[in-house]
Symmetry: C2
Subunit: 213 residues, 2 copies
């Protein structure tokens, strides 16, 4: 360390095989951040944790994301919105009836929870809880994602029910999102899929009684 510089001793353990690939580097960073923010929380995740799990240097991180808030916003805008889109919005739009679409999504998530051991909860809900009140920009971003989520469900409910039904599609969509989100919170706490199963069963019965196709 003092005078014995061994920068290229043999060839072993080079510092890094550096190759400039900004977008890949950026994606590694956001992916690691999304996983950690969802799994452990925004505040519980340190910059050092991200550097370690993503395997990047401080310089690279600072180059792509000057502050932690920048990472948080990018996670919301480029990962959270996509997760909701793939898990909920796309299946809703693709399905023929609202009832089956909702129950299928819930069933798929129950299966997924049963396969893997741990339950980390609803990603968006997790992010919402410790990011929403942290910064107004966070809150607005999350609010928009929730809105699109509810709208996709409400839209399908609207097109699936008869013209004379006096059910409010928006309010019912809010109930579905709330029930799922809250059930995932309890699933996270109990580390089982039981709360989600119970809510899915109840929603099934409710939709039958409310004549939602």
């Amino acid at each position: 360390m003092v005078a014995l510089e061994e920068k290229s001793k043999k060839d072993g353990a080079r510092t890094q095989e550096r190759r400039n690939d900004p977008s890949a580097m950026r994606n590694r960073l956001i992916d690691a951040a999304y996983e950690s923010f969802v799994g452990h929380g925004y505040h519980a995740t340190s910059i050092h944790d991200l550097k370690r799990t993503a395997g990047v240097s401080g310089g690279a991180l600072a180059h792509h994301f000057p502050t932690k808030k920048d990472i948080g916003l990018s996670v919301l805008r480029e990962r959270a919105v996509k997760a909701v889109e793939e898990t909920w919005i796309a299946p809703m739009q693709a399905a023929s009836g609202a009832r089956d679409a909702i129950l299928n999504v819930l069933g798929a998530i129950v299966s997924e929870l049963d396969v893997r051991g741990a339950v980390t909860g609803c990603p968006l809900s997790n992010l919402a809880h410790d990011m929403a009140l942290q910064d107004p920009e966070f809150r607005e971003e999350i609010e928009e994602i929730f809105r699109q989520w509810r709208d996709a469900i409400a839209q399908k409910v609207r097109s699936s029910q008869g013209p004379v039904d006096k059910l409010d599609p928006d309010a019912f969509a809010a109930l579905v999102v709330a029930a799922y989100s809250g059930a995932m919170t309890m699933a996270k706490v109990t580390q089982t899929s039981a709360p989600l199963k119970a809510c899915a069963d109840q929603l099934k019965r409710v939709m039958s009684d409310l004549s939602i196709a």
Copy 2:
């Protein structure tokens, strides 16, 4: 501080008017911790924040709560459990019918949100999200509180419905808790009581259709 000791100069700005009152000191600490943990989150709250808001010294805090985890456990056991008890369990047990009890609680909370400007969300849900996976003891404690909460609702539903109804009280209680918890998450994100109102309306209709008294 060196040689010029001015411990009783006139009488102004004494260090502290110390009076040993351990239980009051402890309560101030837990109250401040509960408020901050619920409002800003467990990880987002530092020990220094607690010392400042509660107005206690480091020595006092270390005496009553050696570690941050100790504060967290005490907040769960001595405040969170009581909050759920007062807000939900007691009203459920006191009411004659499950339907009115649930709708009254939801209505009261909506009014409360409208009175004050900000929405911090469901206290237990907030605590659950960034404490449950932090420590197994946290998780078990929160799980037990959720269980008591659901049981109180299920118990009232059971005693409010006819003997031939094939509704599962436990599953329906899970739906109520999940819907409320999730609605409060959205209310926190939108900073309005609208999501909670929507869910309350839907639950009202659902309970009518399910013949829950």
